[in-house]
Symmetry: C2
DNA sequence: CTGTGTGCAAAGCATTTGCACTATG
DNA sequence: CATAGTGCAAATGCTTTGCACACAG
């Protein structure tokens, strides 16, 4: 519940109500560092708040995505995944996605270089394509440590 | 049909047969610069090759993805999209994705800076996470020119 | 010939929608 | 109280599977 009041305000600012399902979902997301699918979230929540409906989870996540509170994570597994958006630059990160097991690993390295690159890219793209950049996404695909050990060259 | 023989070999190398559906799909992909969904591809193909089945399109695209011939494009619209993988650095590009209309715009700018950034990132990540990097993906999200003109601050 | 690839129809699942009901502000 | 939000069940729509047949090598 830390920051509950802050969230409450952020919802209000956006003509949205502060409800129990929203609080529970937000609370769960703020406690985990993982990229949860809608189903995951729903499953984790049923114990804490048995009455919640899957539909509500879907709608809440989409709402929070539209409001910019959460980020969709690209998982090529046919499920939508979300994570709370980074607060400031301290927690900014990107993903390593394993082509073997589908695992998603966070990394927070070389942030400075990235910022410079992104900044420059943003300027060029905005100028050239009249595109208003709101966000960016960088991901590396490959094989994680575990899979490298296990798999030799199967599948 | 340019490069048909090359593709034929690439399939053979991978213990896969060179068939009419595969040729037609590959041909279509090499003619377009767009990010086509499986349905798009299927639809475009029915005129050229009426007998083709949706299932075959799905299977062929997944096969070509596994073989590294095509790239999955992140579209947050619940449809799988593919594009032929870039040949060499000349055609390397990334995407601008419009949060308004969902359009995907290619850009090929500041490739040099990107390569440097990616290279450095790759080294660090490989060392730190024992992750074998095979590919990367960079995308910018925002509002495209059209949507900026149309929408003021609705939805 | 042998086994990979294809098409079709039937599942499988994640996500969305319609609607009556509840609870926030 | 007015209306945004919720839950359920039904409907969508993309993707996968099972199977008999076709065709590449």
């Amino acid at each position: 519940m830390p920051g509950r009041r802050k969230w409450q305000c952020r919802f209000r600012e956006n003509v949205s109500r502060w409800t129990v399902p929203r609080e529970v979902i937000l609370d769960l997301l703020s406690r985990t560092s993982k990229h949860m699918s809608t189903k995951d979230i729903y499953a984790s929540l049923t114990s804490l708040y048995p009455g919640i409906g899957l539909t509500t989870v879907y709608r809440t996540l989409e709402l929070m995505h539209r409001l910019g509170f959460v980020q969709k994570v690209t998982a090529h597994d046919g499920q939508r995944r979300y994570e709370l958006k980074d607060e400031g630059k301290r927690n900014h990160h990107h993903h390593l996605i394993c082509n073997g097991c589908g695992d998603i690993i966070d990394y927070r390295d070389f942030v400075q270089e990235e910022l410079e690159f992104i900044k420059k890219a943003g300027e060029v793209l905005t100028a050239k394509h009249s595109f208003l950049i709101q966000d960016h996404n960088i991901e590396f695909l490959g094989i994680c440590e575990k899979c490298r050990a296990t798999t030799r060259n199967s599948e």
